[in-house]
Symmetry: C2
DNA sequence: CTCGAATAGTTCGGCCCCTAAAGAAAGAAG
DNA sequence: CTTCTTTCTTTAGGGGCCGAACTATTCGAG
């Protein structure tokens, strides 16, 4: 799983079979292709988000808050949903609060907890950037027909099963 | 492109169509599925590499060096191939040299340059970990038939074209 | 009613990845 | 011999992420 700017050609990977008999050349090549593409897409995402003054991580937080702007979320809940520790969430929220995109509100029922809310500025930012964001995604996917997409998801699900299984046994 | 631990179901993405007419729900869902899986696989990779005392970035450097252990590489060349700046490469090499996995050698013909070589310890580390690494990859891909793999690569290539095109126009 | 356990959020120290800009040393070219 | 270019490093800084320790608060069992 080495990620060079240009991933090694299948022929090269096949040549490793002598040294590593267990290698699965076409599988390795396929996986590298996917990871290379995903990495590029995410890097392009970072560039896009940076233009709007945020990072990908911060964007995820904003999108989560946007899912239900009436109720407000607890940081620990957000950490759980996004899959980071509470410490990490504190850092993300610090940045977003500094930029006045979210606000922390005291909670009187349980004074240990706080709720996080999008500010007007935060809502406006999403309103401004999301159309471009979704256009970007749509452009990225436009070559894939509906059946291509179904196919792709189903192939990914096959890998996901194995990834989950490997996770279980701590591989 | 928001990455929650559990990506939003297609139905939810479809419901955004009211607010964002340009959204491509199945495309967005498909992309999220891929990015979610890639992120998980990479995270699992980090865990695996950590067990062997290195990071993914350092592993990539070692693999590059392993491709031709006779000649040695220049840091600037390595930075180029991997796709990072020379400053980043200096940092990666600092860590690897501290752990005695690589060594910097002076070059007498051109004293500005150095060449990087795997140490015996570095070679041994790869020898020890690569079989497990390739087993991991093989396990991950084992559900996909040869034709699945070809299909997957061809679908990814379609997206890659668009990603490259978007890159060009700085989207 | 009180005291220890559990919970929420934060802080701290630390690691990784990454960059741009500036600097040192050496080579190349006029 | 001066100037330009190249290579590598250093510096300062950004972001992401974690585990462990700390504070405040609430809850629950005795």
């Amino acid at each position: 799983m080495f990620l060079l700017r240009d991933i090694p050609p299948l022929e090269f990977i096949q040549s490793l079979k002598k040294r590593f008999p267990d290698i699965d050349p076409s599988g390795t090549f396929t996986l590298l292709t996917m990871l290379r593409l995903s990495t590029d897409i995410m890097a392009a995402g970072e560039t896009f988000f940076a233009k709007h003054g945020i990072s990908h991580g911060r964007f995820v937080v904003l999108m989560l808050l946007d899912q239900d702007s009436t109720r407000g979320f607890h940081p620990s809940d957000m950490a759980e949903r996004i899959g980071v520790t509470r410490a990490t969430m504190t850092g993300l929220l610090d940045g977003l609060e500094r930029d006045e995109l979210v606000e922390r509100r005291q909670n009187d029922e349980d004074r240990r907890t706080i709720t996080i809310h999008l500010t007007e500025k935060g809502k406006q930012l999403l309103k401004d950037m999301l159309p471009f964001h979704f256009q970007r995604v749509a452009a990225l996917m436009k070559q894939l027909s509906e059946s291509d997409r179904k196919q792709l998801v189903s192939l990914l699900k096959k890998m996901e099963q194995e990834a989950d299984a490997a996770q279980q046994i701590g591989l």
